[in-house]
């Protein structure tokens, strides 16, 4: 009985368990029996259908090396894999059996074919570059708008019609609008067509006359100045009339001849710049005679550039991370800044192994602590100079600066000590308050002891010319009697820095920046305890602030104090380069017979307001020339998005007639760039807008014509790419970008050699130039270089191949000359390239130089090793761009704010982030010219600051085509510190409203202590709404009525002929499936289906900071005109809605 009962119980248990198993496991069994995946064989990695090409990446702008595997499937060249280049100094070589330990690049002489056994490291973005090439939203045929600007309606036109209409003008048939051509703006051509024998003779004489007026302006009365201008006009009207022209046919404004010729009204703006697409477009702009070849640098790193240029005379300076023992890494994001996610692997490896200590100064935490050697130092945005000053104070107080190095007052005395650079620490500066010479260096001539070009130092208590002694006093303050009899206060440049650093206690500085005193002391101690192998490593977080240039300089004084410049482990300017534009052929942007040009650029960079006729006329007429209509930026090295668009909008300093924009998206990429839409929509202010691009983005939505461009895996941005600072610490490091596959854009014909031409930037500019008849294009275009075998010869330029093959030839020949490429190239290396590289078919353009070209191409560029890049004293063999490094800059001290007319402070100093000019006359500090932003938007109203850092995955808004990365991080969100989250009552996944003075965005929140309290971090790269297809944005609202209406006017969808987009149609089905495993077939098969991933997430830029003192245009830094990305005051409220943040979202 008991046994029976036991059996029954066992039977029930058995049945129940079997039932549970079947029910619970049915799903798995079903997946096994009916798998929902496509069976696909392994990739072919060798054989006749497989080839390998070394090139250069463009996932970001770091220019790492790539090796691309291409497979031929029924005549279609398909990119299957992108990996790292083992020769490249950033990627370094990885052996299959040795993947974990640290490694070096392959020796440059290593056989190309053998190199295939190795690979190189490459970040996620680099590997995902395939999706850039194979993007269904790519435009492949020229388009012309078929409705009002921004309507999203387009029609296809032929290449010939495109070129003709842009040169001679066209009509939008659907609206009846007339579009102007650029022929009448090509002043050189206008003169030539009027039968002036030598247009440049006219232009150069005219320019000379303009310079004459300007140089005499200061001595003239208003009437005399007017008379001079009238005389100029009469003279030139008379001469031009002889051929039927008037001065108005040539100059923008005959009353303002300093603005230059009408060619300046053609503006070329590029976003992403790369080696030879830059040289080539610059050459085109030079060929049409315009001054306006402009870049996106304000949105890139302009504050950092401008700051560096002040103290070092050069823009791009960062540390040798391979040799450094301590780094103060401030505002430089891991995974973002050069050497990028790939190259920064070395920093992480060295830190993890205890060879390097990194103080990561950033409101956002690093992604690891590397065994305690990555120390996060959260800082309040915009206060970096305060931290630097605290360190400077500690270093000076404790005497831990490099006295011997700093005491050298001139280059010769420095050389005697084995130094390659010297500083102006000992030079005396006139610091007398209100004195006209205040801020300038005291000259020997001022005290009757020498010449005007001799600075004065203190030696043994005596004032002496700086070049008469080998050392001088570092700290001095006193009164000096000038030859004029005046007595003025003077201080050494280092004394001024000391006074600034000692103007507050370390505790007070720390209070400003929010960094604990003990951390600052520890940082200063470690920094000065590593000899010269310590360095600051700074970038956007520091530079992209209103006070950016001053903060950059403040940090860099730490480097000056230890004297680490161009030393192993110290700061370095970029690597040396081969002569890739002038070794044999002149492929550079000048000296090919281009028109003479002059005038200020539309964004007024590099030109002082005080050097314009506007200034002199107003000064002479009104006695005061301030405020200028918009600021001028004489000390900035590059261009500003804000000022380009504000300039076009306000017609200041002159109206623009045609805008050519290439590879850019300022509407989305600039802080509050949404304001630019106002300009782009306005056909009066911008009569012609031409976009050269791969897809139609938020900016190009307003273009009149779209020119399909090629990607970097085709012919896009080909050429030689120098590496940014510090180029892995080696002497030469250049990546070569070559075409990996033939372009997927429309074939537009063949050149006279029978070589194919495809729609792209290159061919577009060539055909425009040929149609206009500019110098430098056509049969006799590229001059041979003097003192070479091609001196006196001219070469044709009918296609990209004519140009780019000669660029490679220059680089290769110069590399041979420098001993980097052997005279006798191994035959197999040449064979390797000829078997694998599509570009080898153009070798007949440069037959003599081909073997050397092939040698470099087979290695993806020209590289030297780390060890051979230093001398026995640890000095890098690169040539420093300038030998004088500054603690005080006279030029800056003499530069005036264009609105207030007041001088800028001439040394490193802490200023609170502020507007350019005062609001309601509010200023709080003597040298501060604007109003602190926190006075305008106080913390009680806007308790947070929002910042938008890059990440190892996303660094640009264009990154949305990277579909493999999208699977790791499909969308972004706002990261909030747990303490702030608790105060607001929000959890991960709650949707919040982030309100700034310009509007609001709504986004889910990720609660993590990876962001400092009081900071909202929104990872950059998302929030798109136009990328050929349109998905109308709903995540933000703009406060300003006009802009709000412009956003509302964005069309619901785009209308483009089916055959003008989606180059993927030629790919085999399996390739498409492999590329877009997560997307609906409709996305990659048909044209313009909306893919959610492409348009999800948010960008803060739409509501980021603007400058109320400058008509609310996007906020800029004061000196460099850099966009301000890291200072947007905000408040946060909970919406009550939730969105699931899944595990796939946790990596950012």
């Amino acid at each position: 009985m008991a046994n029976n009962r036991r059996r029954v119980v066992k039977g029930i248990i058995a049945a129940a368990s079997l039932g549970t198993f079947i029910y619970g496991y049915y799903g798995t069994v079903d997946k096994i029996l009916r798998p929902s995946v496509t069976i696909y064989g392994p990739d072919k990695i060798d054989g006749p259908e497989v080839r390998y090409v070394y090139s250069s990446c463009l996932g970001c702008n770091v220019r790492c090396g790539i090796r691309v595997r291409i497979i031929n499937v029924n005549g279609v060249q398909i990119v299957e894999r992108i990996e790292g280049n083992p020769y490249h100094v950033y990627n370094r070589a990885v052996l299959p059996e040795k993947q974990i330990k640290r490694y070096n690049p392959l020796p440059y002489s290593f056989s190309a074919r053998e190199s295939l056994k190795y690979t190189g490291t490459l970040c996620a973005r680099g590997q995902d570059g395939i999706h850039y090439l194979y993007d269904p939203y790519r435009v492949v045929k020229p388009l012309k708008r078929a409705g009002p600007r921004g309507s999203g309606r387009w029609k296809t036109i032929s290449w010939e019609q495109l070129i003709d209409e842009i040169v001679n003008g066209g009509v939008i048939e659907e609206t009846g609008e007339r579009l102007p051509g650029i022929r009448e703006l090509f002043t050189y051509g206008v003169l030539r067509d009027a039968r002036f024998e030598d247009p440049n003779n006219i232009l150069s004489r005219m320019k000379e006359d303009v310079n004459q007026i300007l140089s005499n302006s200061s001595h003239l009365t208003f009437d005399e100045l007017r008379k001079k201008i009238e005389e100029f006009k009469s003279k030139w009207e008379a001469e031009l009339n002889t051929k039927g022209l008037t001065l108005s046919d040539i100059l923008i404004d005959p009353d303002r001849p300093d603005l230059g010729t009408k060619a300046n009204q053609i503006v070329f703006v590029r976003g992403r710049g790369q080696g030879h697409s830059d040289d080539f477009s610059q050459r085109w702009v030079a060929a049409i005679g315009s001054i306006n070849w402009l870049r996106h640098t304000s949105s890139c790193q302009l504050g950092y550039y401008a700051g560096n240029r002040i103290w070092a005379g050069y823009t791009d300076i960062n540390p040798d991370v391979r040799g450094a023992k301590v780094l103060i890494m401030a505002g430089a994001q891991i995974g973002r800044l050069h050497p990028g996610a790939t190259g920064q692997g070395l920093i992480i490896e060295r830190a993890a192994e205890g060879e390097l200590k990194v103080y990561y100064v950033n409101p956002v935490a690093p992604r690891g602590d590397c065994n305690g050697n990555f120390i996060w130092v959260p800082i309040k945005p915009g206060t970096d100079a305060a931290l630097a000053m605290a360190m400077v104070r500690w270093i000076i107080e404790n005497g831990r600066y490099n006295k011997i190095f700093l005491e050298s007052p001139n280059e010769e005395s420095a050389k005697k000590k084995g130094e390659i650079v010297y500083t102006n620490a000992t030079w005396l500066v006139i610091t007398e308050d209100g004195h006209p010479r205040g801020g300038t260096f005291l000259r020997a001539s001022d005290i009757g002891k020498g010449e005007k070009n001799q600075y004065v130092v203190v030696y043994n208590g005596e004032l002496v010319p700086y070049d008469t002694v080998d050392e001088a006093e570092l700290f001095y303050a006193g009164k000096v009697k000038l030859s004029t009899g005046e007595e003025v206060e003077v201080k050494t440049a280092l004394q001024i820095l000391k006074d600034e650093a000692f103007s507050r206690s370390i505790e007070e500085w720390c209070e400003i920046c929010g960094v604990p005193v003990e951390t600052v002391v520890r940082m200063a101690f470690d920094f000065t305890n590593a000899g010269r192998a310590a360095s600051t490593y700074i970038h956007r977080g520091v530079g992209m602030q209103p006070n950016g240039e001053y903060s950059v300089w403040a940090y860099r004084t730490l480097d000056l104090l230890i004297g680490n410049y161009h030393r192993r482990g110290g700061l370095m300017a970029r690597a040396d380069t081969t002569n890739y534009n002038g070794a044999l052929y002149n492929t550079g942007p000048s000296n090919f017979g281009e028109p003479v040009k002059w005038g200020p650029p539309i964004d007024r960079h590099g030109v002082a307001y005080e050097d314009t006729l506007e200034y002199w006329v107003r000064l002479k007429r009104d006695g005061n020339a301030y405020p200028a209509k918009r600021p001028w930026y004489p000390l900035t090295p590059e261009e500003s998005y804000t000022e380009i668009f504000a300039g076009i909008d306000e017609g200041y300093p002159y109206p623009v007639k045609a805008l050519f924009m290439y590879y850019a998206n300022p509407v989305l990429a600039a802080n509050f760039g949404i304001k630019f839409i106002k300009v782009l929509r306005d056909t009066e202010k911008l009569p012609l807008f031409v976009a050269i691009t791969t897809t139609i983005n938020e900016t190009f939505l307003y273009a009149d014509y779209i020119i399909p461009d090629t990607t970097y895996l085709e012919t896009g941005t080909l050429g030689i790419q120098y590496l940014y600072a510090s180029s892995a610490g080696v002497r030469y490091a250049e990546a070569w970008r070559v075409p990996v596959v033939p372009p997927m854009t429309m074939k537009i014909g063949e050149d006279p050699n029978g070589y194919p031409r495809y729609s792209s930037l290159w061919e577009f500019l060539i055909d425009l130039a040929k149609k206009l008849g500019t110098p430098g294009y056509g049969e006799r275009s590229i001059p041979g270089v003097k003192e070479t075998r091609y001196e006196g010869k001219w070469f044709p330029l009918h296609s990209i191949w004519d140009y780019i093959m000669r660029v490679y030839a220059n680089g290769a020949v110069d590399a041979v000359k420098k001993g980097l490429i052997p005279e006798q190239v191994p035959v197999d290396d040449v064979k390797f390239v000829e078997e694998n590289y599509w570009i080898a078919r153009f070798k007949d353009i440069v037959p003599s130089e081909w073997p050397w070209i092939a040698y470099a191409m087979a290695r993806g560029g020209v590289f030297t090793s780390y060890d051979e890049s230093y001398d026995e004293n640890g000095v890098v063999k690169r040539k420093p761009k300038r030998t004088l490094l500054e603690f005080w800059d006279e030029k800056l001290a003499m530069t005036r704010n264009s609105v207030t007319g007041q001088r800028f402070y001439g040394g490193p100093k802490y200023f609170p982030p502020a507007t350019y000019a005062p609001i309601e006359a509010k200023t709080t500090e003597k040298w501060l010219q604007g109003t602190p932003l926190r006075e305008i938007w106080p913390e009680d109203r806007y308790p947070f600051l929002v910042i938008m850092p890059g990440s190892p995955l996303y660094t640009k808004h264009r990154s949305q085509f990277y579909y493999w990365m999208k699977q790791i991080m499909p969308r972004n969100y706002a990261v909030l510190h747990p303490r702030d989250a608790a105060r607001l009552g929000v959890d991960t996944g709650d949707i919040v409203k982030i309100e700034t003075p310009n509007g609001y965005v709504e986004t889910p929140v990720l609660v993590e202590p990876t962001t400092a309290p009081g900071i909202i971090t929104i990872p950059v790269g998302m929030g798109r709404w136009a990328d050929t297809a349109i998905s109308k944005p709903e995540y933000f609202e703009i406060r300003e009525k006009e802009l709000k209406e412009l956003i509302e006017a964005i069309p619901e969808k785009t209308e483009i002929p089916e055959d003008a987009v989606n180059p993927l149609k030629v790919l085999p089905e399996i390739s498409k499936k492999t590329l877009f495993t997560k997307s609906n077939k409709e996305f990659y098969e048909s044209s313009l289906a909306i893919d959610e991933w492409r348009f999800n997430g948010i960008t803060l830029n739409v509501i980021a900071s603007s400058d109320p003192s400058l008509k609310d245009w996007p906020l800029l830094s004061w000196v460099g005109a850099s966009q301000v990305y890291f200072y947007t005051p905000a408040k946060v409220t909970k919406t009550g809605e939730k969105e699931k943040i899944t595990f796939t979202n946790m990596i950012w």
């Binding site: 066992k10 619970g24 990739d43 056994k117 992604r367």
Partner: protein, 368 residues
């Protein structure tokens, strides 16, 4: 056809669903086999060997169902056996740990079945004499061993197999934690340095708890001290070890992360660790009491289950809720049918237990 592993597959959510939690419980099957082998070799747990063997085989044979259910493409699982990457090649260095363990699983399973058949051979012969039904079946299981002498001679081979079985079973006992530490990028797992030893000790806790539970259900008030006491002793040692090692891990984290933001993120995990320590200490104390009062052993088993489930859930599920930076904490979102999915491999193990225990006795009176 060999299939390709797409990069995007590697980027799928790292959340291992609770079905894998069941897997780590089932791995205790390996420890039951270890105990059975050791018992056989040392003659220390003689009376419990049939129980441990049957339980061990039942649990161990279904162990791979956990990870199989967790795979996105389970139909590819046979590739682990057909093209296992267990020796490095020039182009593909390293080895696949999961392929290696899968092959070991087959070896261990075969060895344990052979061990079981040899162990039960003579008892099966004896049983064939006692019964009327299924006589032939029992004779077949006797493998022709019809005398004590033959059985004694066979014990040499049985011992050899028991010794060999120890290696793959031990590697399996260590495997889950090794996998977590070395094959993933979870911040918590990477920093849970005591995980391998905790895991190994914990599987003994689970193994003995299961054995005690099954024995209690089977014999209830007729439990024999000879059977239950050795199990309780092993259990007590295991419980004490796991609690001590967990406490040690807590101290290590406090030492490492001190008052850093990371220790804040770990709050949930550390709270659960306190619970685990408390439960297992209780189980340890109860084990000592149960040595004298056998009936208490059911409590030992239940408390130990609570402790070990909390421990495994903490290790497997809570740890995955910490972001890679170690600074973010996520909420757990489970699929609606997670409980059934989790229970299903355990259910099959129970089913097998019922079937095998119907064929082979949980208690053998006359053995070598």
């Amino acid at each position: 056809m060999i299939e390709y592993f797409y990069p995007n597959e590697a980027a799928t959510p790292l959340l291992w669903e609770p079905v894998l939690f069941a897997y780590t419980l089932l791995v205790s099957g390996a420890d039951l086999l270890i105990l059975a082998s050791l018992g056989y070799l040392t003659k220390k747990l003689e009376k419990t060997i049939p129980l441990l063997l049957i339980l061990g085989i039942s649990f161990f044979s279904v162990v791979l169902l956990g990870p199989l259910a967790d795979l996105r493409s389970p139909h590819k699982a046979p590739l682990l056996f057909s093209i296992p990457h267990i020796s490095p090649t020039y182009t593909t260095p390293g080895i696949s740990l999961i392929a290696f363990q899968s092959i070991l699983w087959i070896i261990a399973l075969i060895l344990s079945i052979v061990f079981m058949l040899l162990y039960f051979s003579y008892p099966m012969y004896l049983k064939s004499k006692e019964v009327e039904r299924f006589k032939g079946l029992y004779l077949a299981f006797s493998l022709g061993v019809d005398s004590r002498e033959k059985y004694d001679k066979l014990s040499l081979i049985t011992k050899g197999i028991a010794i060999i079985l120890l290696l793959p079973a031990t590697l399996w006992g260590l495997y889950p934690s090794t996998l977590l530490i070395s094959q993933t990028w979870s911040f918590v797992w990477r920093n849970w340095v005591m995980l391998p030893v905790i895991y190994f000790a914990d599987t003994f806790v689970v193994a003995t708890a299961i054995a005690i539970l099954v024995y209690f259900i089977w014999r209830r008030r007729r439990m024999e001290a000879e059977v239950i006491q050795p199990l309780l002793k092993v259990h007590a040692a295991g419980s004490l070890s796991v609690s001590a090692l967990t406490a040690l891990q807590l101290s290590i984290w406090w030492f490492w992360f001190d008052d850093s933001i990371i220790i804040q993120s770990l709050t949930t995990i550390t709270s659960w660790m306190f619970i685990v320590i408390a439960l297992l200490i209780t189980s340890f104390v109860l084990s000592l009491i149960a040595l004298r009062f056998l009936v208490i052993s059911i409590l030992v088993s239940l408390v130990a289950f609570a402790g070990t489930i909390a421990n495994k859930w903490n290790i497997l599920m809570n740890s995955q809720l910490i972001s890679k930076t170690g600074m973010g904490v996520f909420e757990l979102h489970l699929p609606a049918d997670w409980l059934f999915k989790t229970a299903s491999p355990i259910a099959l193990a129970i089913f097998l237990l019922v079937i095998i225990s119907s064929l082979f006795p949980l208690e053998v009176k006359e053995v070598g």
